[in-house]
Assembly symmetry: C2
Homo-oligomer: 154 residues x 2
Amino acid sequence: MTALLHYEDFRVGQVHPLGTHTLTADEIIDYAREFDPQPQHLDEEAAKHSLLGGLAASGWFLGALAMRMIVDNLFIRAASMGSPGIDELQWRRPVYAGDTIALEGEVIAARASSRRDRGFVKFRFTFYRTTGGARERAMTYVSSVMFRRRDAEP
Amino acid sequence: MTALLHYEDFRVGQVHPLGTHTLTADEIIDYAREFDPQPQHLDEEAAKHSLLGGLAASGWFLGALAMRMIVDNLFIRAASMGSPGIDELQWRRPVYAGDTIALEGEVIAARASSRRDRGFVKFRFTFYRTTGGARERAMTYVSSVMFRRRDAEP
């Protein structure tokens, strides 16, 4: 009965759209109070005088938002088994209160595991920020995700 | 009057102790509800039947905790200017409710920027989990942090 995505369903070159999110000042500040209490993430006035020039999301908040969007838009319909880590995470552009960001996950590699029940799918995840009609990369990272193999299902 | 740490104060081989934290089930679940709603992070009973075998922190929650401990124990007394990204993040061992983790930051490289006022210090941050008297690496990652140069102060 299951229509969950398995390892075999992912192919190099696929780009999975993973939703959009508009950041509010409140959520940027709430996250920063708990996890990253630096002036550029905590306070609009202090942020104006920081290197970023305005209230901007903590980089780790962007990572957390990406995780949430991956769960809601991909893992919810996939037989995922977690991830061993992250590579090449780059914070390329600040994301400010009021900005809308869109997440995409491109499949850049796939390989079976030595364990017969699973395979690794390597994604490049990118948060795009739209500015003046053009898309800019705000954050990118590479991460491998383990998925069950369909041909190993009981 | 400032005794803030600057670029020149960091040298390859230094290991900065950055505090300890004991995780509660409540904070693991609170984070997961907001950012990583998967069964192994959300619910003790469901987690027992997951690959991790018990309620374990979201990997992104560990990253957020590391950020907080870096702010509280290092940036608070340093002239930091942010970070462009992360490399080689590995989730090596699950961290369960009740576990105590200790964060360390080892300086593995340092180089002046082409901009005269700053330099890059590359750290390997490691969360150690103590199990049966032995330390195990639970999470490691590499990240460069920009600090102001003391000799560029006005």
